[in-house]
Symmetry: C2
Subunit: 97 residues, 2 copies
Amino acid sequence: MAASLRSAVSAVTSRGTSRFSTVVVRASAGQINPSIRKNEEKVADFVKVENLPTPKAVYCRCWRSGKFPMCDGAHVKHNKETGDNVGPLVIESPAAK
Amino acid sequence: MAASLRSAVSAVTSRGTSRFSTVVVRASAGQINPSIRKNEEKVADFVKVENLPTPKAVYCRCWRSGKFPMCDGAHVKHNKETGDNVGPLVIESPAAK
C-alpha cells in the first residue's frame, strides 16, 4: 500500500467514534504484477527469434500467467473479474500457419 | 492517490458519526490497462518475425506506453510510483547485436 493511502486508511480506522468500520483496500497500490519474480528489480525478458518456443509464441502481458513469460490464458479470468481488456502478444515464425 | 479513491476515503472520514460504515475501495477495480484501445474487448497483438519493427523489438507489458504495443520506457515511472517491477519483452532478430 502506498504511504499516502496507508495514512489515509489509518486515519479512518483509528477514529473510534463508529463502532463498525471496515475499510478494504485492494490493488496493491496500483501494482500490475502481483507475484512474478518479485525478487527481480525489473522483470524484462529477452528472446532470440531462433529460440522462440513455438512457431506461434504467445506471450503474457497480464502478469498472471502460471507459465510466464508465456501466456496460459490467465488474462481471461482477470478481464472477467475486473472488466479489463488485456491480452497477449503473439510472435509468429514463418513456420506458423 | 487516485482521485476516486481520495474522494471515497474523504467521504468516510467526513461521516464519523455513522455507526456502520463499510467502504470498499478497489482502485479502478484492479484493471491493468487504464487506457489502451478500450474499445476492443481484448487487446491482443500479432506480429510476424519478418515484420518486427526493429532488429531488437521492445514490447510493452505495463500498458502505459504511448507507443503501445512497443515499449517507450513508461514502466520506469510506473515501477517508481508503485514499487512494482514490471518490464518489457524484447524480441531479437539475428541482425540484432
